[in-house]
Symmetry: C2
């Protein structure tokens, strides 16, 4: 409440990364400013400002000087002999908004903006962000709040603009093997004459994100200018969105959601739509996989989520179609970056492949093509199929690889797969009745995916296949024998693939 | 899910305090262990273990070595050339329990125990603790969960045992000037022949806690052995509970509640009762002040809270009475450690003083005395009054001061009060109709209380007093002219004391 002064300190960078902005200060200086350990301050240099948290020391830095962590130094463009102003922030600007929500009131547009600004500025601590996200579990965002959240997330971040109408497709994920779908869908859509500058994320909890998989074949860490250049040249990108500063609040939210293992729906919708708006997307197809071990368990829930996407997209003036797809087992036969890149590349070169992969990619592509109005509803998938079967999808994909700095002539057999392998065989004769998405994901990640590009899982059989005893069910790949063993431990603990014979049970 | 190895590092302490346990590790070592910035690990040395979070560096520490923050070094008894085992903890033991609560299920006794253990061990991050506390706002603890929480908070901490029956009194706080009530109540209760080893907290958001106020007159940072010794000698203590490790989860919860400005009831009840159980309290009087700017706004709410205390105390086998008291204005005339100590001491020496102070202290003391069964219900306050008026309260208080290392002959005029003062005068003739607790608290804290012992507020008039224009309403004290000015800024912004004349309004 009192007047709070800004005090200036000679600042240098310190090589320490604790996952948040810190400023190390002599405890005598801190006491004068009334600052304890982990109290919140605003760091100011010229017109730039960042939130940070205080670390106290008696010896690491003398009075009058401070040490700041790397991100702070970069954001504030810290040079030698520069001073930084340190201003205590006992009460963050978003305090009142957060309090309202924690006491059962709705946030208005300005309050949501202030909240997101504080998140991105590093003014809010993990505890406060966790409280905001947790509040959503019990007290869902209203559609007005969600709309305000999306707009604020877009506003506080960068945007990329294109001259032509922008199309895109996005899966909410949760099914292993899904990352490769976009590798086929995007060049198919582009071949239909549409502009699709797709950016995607790396894996958070899955074996591979589309960005991880594409990175096996080409650069994905494009700058905004490079994205515009590639889009201008080949009218499609398969890039990583991580460094583009699109809706940057999202990364911070995702990090904490992951820690708490919560995934509030409205926050997910905001995350997806905000990034699309920031990329100037005019027409979008959203894929919601449904399955026992997918993010969405049943059709009724999928319908509700689809409704949320559709109403919010309408408020944003974005054309949208939602595809509810079968998520009851992995897509295609592979999970893991290089294995998935290999499967997608092989399918495009040979113009055939796993039905679940090809059908899904072409259905999604078809819906996007229909959004353009160039084909009648229901005809999109056939248009997509003829593009795919004509080899145009592969031609376009090669152009994208080349434009993103990769080798367009690379073949699937050239891709480096983990050299340590183990194949699990069918214990009995019977039919595959169930494949557990969560177990496949855990195995592929234990084997090293997505960081170990060659790690992952190849499925020899899928649901409904008949197998004989001893037939291969799945092969695990890893670049490390230790990690292969860890993956195997998980595979034996769970039953990732269930084979059932005709004889279910014998009574006494 | 995979087997996780513990790796050993040569460890030294680093002089940095960021408010949580950190371990600084070379990023090459961290990568090998699969650890990123701010990931959770368990540090192990011999039979001791602490949670900590990873900070990465390229240069501050070479491979094979780590730097740990002070608290870790102390807790693990780190010596020179010692090694510490670092074990990644991707999923904390309490993960499942926290997930249950975040998905609308109740925690069982074991799950609550595991949660509190992880809180105290430093295994949970602020985000996770914030999620647990936020969940309580929307989804209150059940009485079974509350009981489990209290037991777990007691279990994971130290206990102090006494041979005689233990009495205590506790206010939930929220009203300025309340810290001095215990200074009169405790020696009165002890003079009635009861054992009352009271421990209390320092101020968190108020101008003074009982520990801050008592510290003006004697040492309060007693060790468990000293508390037992003082209690044996004079059968009463007025000590600080902060370093006794009683229900240590509480400090961690309070820290995050404060950051979020939330105060879930059940958590407050758990905090109070857990500390009492840890101190072996058999009979307790709880004071719930009610008032527009107190923690509890109305009688109905106070009744509900009282019910919670009574039912939980019964489950713990603790005798309890709850006093609902008037919290519509500050207690007595002072707020701030030295000013309150002065007011209480003067009242005991002169055997009279502000009615709100004396009546409250003797009523509380009377209820405690009634719990002993030595006097009939309704007679306690008269017994307390005769003790107070006979001078026995003051005699006992002198004994407590002396036993806690203070000067028993100190007089109220000897206490050092802030030398910078400003007196606010009545702007018109009229009656005091309202005193704003929150504004008084903010003024006293801006003036420097509780850290500046001599800072605070003296009220010349209270609600119902008639004043003439120019009469003094309140005097602000501070040891710093800058802080006095800050306090004045707040006093002019709010209207801490409202004087209203007979003429309310003139129509045209």
């Amino acid at each position: 409440m009192a007047h709070i002064e800004t005090k200036h300190f000679l600042a240098s960078e310190i090589d320490i990364d604790i996952g948040k902005n810190i400023v190390i200060m002599n405890e005598v200086d801190a006491r004068e400013l009334g600052l304890g350990p982990n109290t919140r301050v605003r760091l100011i240099k010229g017109d730039k400002t960042r939130g940070a948290f205080i670390a106290l020391t008696k010896t690491m830095v003398p009075q009058g000087k401070i040490l700041v962590s790397h991100d702070v130094a970069v954001d504030l463009r810290l040079g030698k002999e520069d001073t930084i102003g340190v201003k205590p922030v006992p009460v963050p600007p978003s305090f009142i908004g957060l309090q309202k929500r924690l006491h059962g009131q709705r946030l208005g547009q300005d309050e949501m903006y202030t909240l997101i600004k504080d998140v991105v500025d590093g003014i809010l601590s993990e505890a406060e962000i966790a409280a905001f996200l947790t509040s959503q579990i019990y007290y869902e965002l209203s559609e007005d709040e969600l709309n305000a959240l999306i707009k604020a997330m877009v506003e506080i971040g960068s945007k990329i603009e294109f001259e032509d109408t922008v199309y895109d497709e996005h899966s909410i994920g949760g099914v292993p093997g899904n990352s490769k779908v976009a590798l086929i869908a995007v060049p198919t859509i582009s071949s239909a004459g549409l502009l699709i500058p797709k950016t995607s994320s790396r894996a958070i909890t899955s074996p591979a994100g589309t960005a991880d998989t594409m990175e096996v074949l080409a650069r994905v860490d494009l700058t905004p200018d490079e994205i515009k250049e590639v889009a201008r040249k080949v009218r499609a990108t398969l890039a990583w969105g991580g460094k583009l500063n699109l809706a940057p609040a999202d990364d911070i939210f995702v990090n904490i959601e992951r820690k708490l293992s919560i995934d509030p729906w409205h926050q997910m919708v905001a995350s997806i739509l905000a990034k699309k708006v920031a990329m100037g997307v005019d027409n979008l197809v959203v894929d919601i996989p449904v399955g026992r071990k997918a993010k969405v368990k049943d059709l009724k829930t999928a319908d509700q989520l689809a409704g949320l996407f559709i109403r919010q997209a309408a408020r944003l003036g974005m054309g949208i179609r939602v595809a509810i797809t079968f998520g009851g087992q992995p897509i295609g036969r592979t999970a893991g970056p290089a294995l998935e890149a290999m499967e997608a590349l092989k399918a495009m070169i040979e113009r055939r492949g796993s039905k679940s992969l090809i059908e899904k990619a072409l259905s999604i592509a078809g819906l996007v093509i229909e959004l353009s109005g160039k084909v009648s509803p229901g005809q999109g998938v056939e248009v997509a199929r003829s593009i795919f079967e004509s080899g145009k999808t592969y031609e376009k994909f090669k152009q994208i690889i080349e434009a993103q700095g990769g080798n367009p002539d690379i073949k699937h057999d050239d891709l480096p797969i983990g050299s340590h392998t183990y194949t699990i065989e069918a214990p009995i004769e019977g039919a595959v009745t169930h494949i557990d998405n969560a177990a496949i994901t855990a195995i592929a990640r234990a084997a090293g995916a997505p960081f170990d590009k060659g790690a992952g899982v190849y499925l020899h059989a899928k649901i409904g296949y008949r197998v004989n005893r001893g037939d291969p069910l799945m092969t695990i790949y890893s670049s490390s024998s230790v990690r292969l063993q860890e993956a195997l431990n998980i595979a034996t603990r769970y039953s990732p693939i269930l084979v059932e014979g005709m004889l279910i049970k014998i009574l006494p």
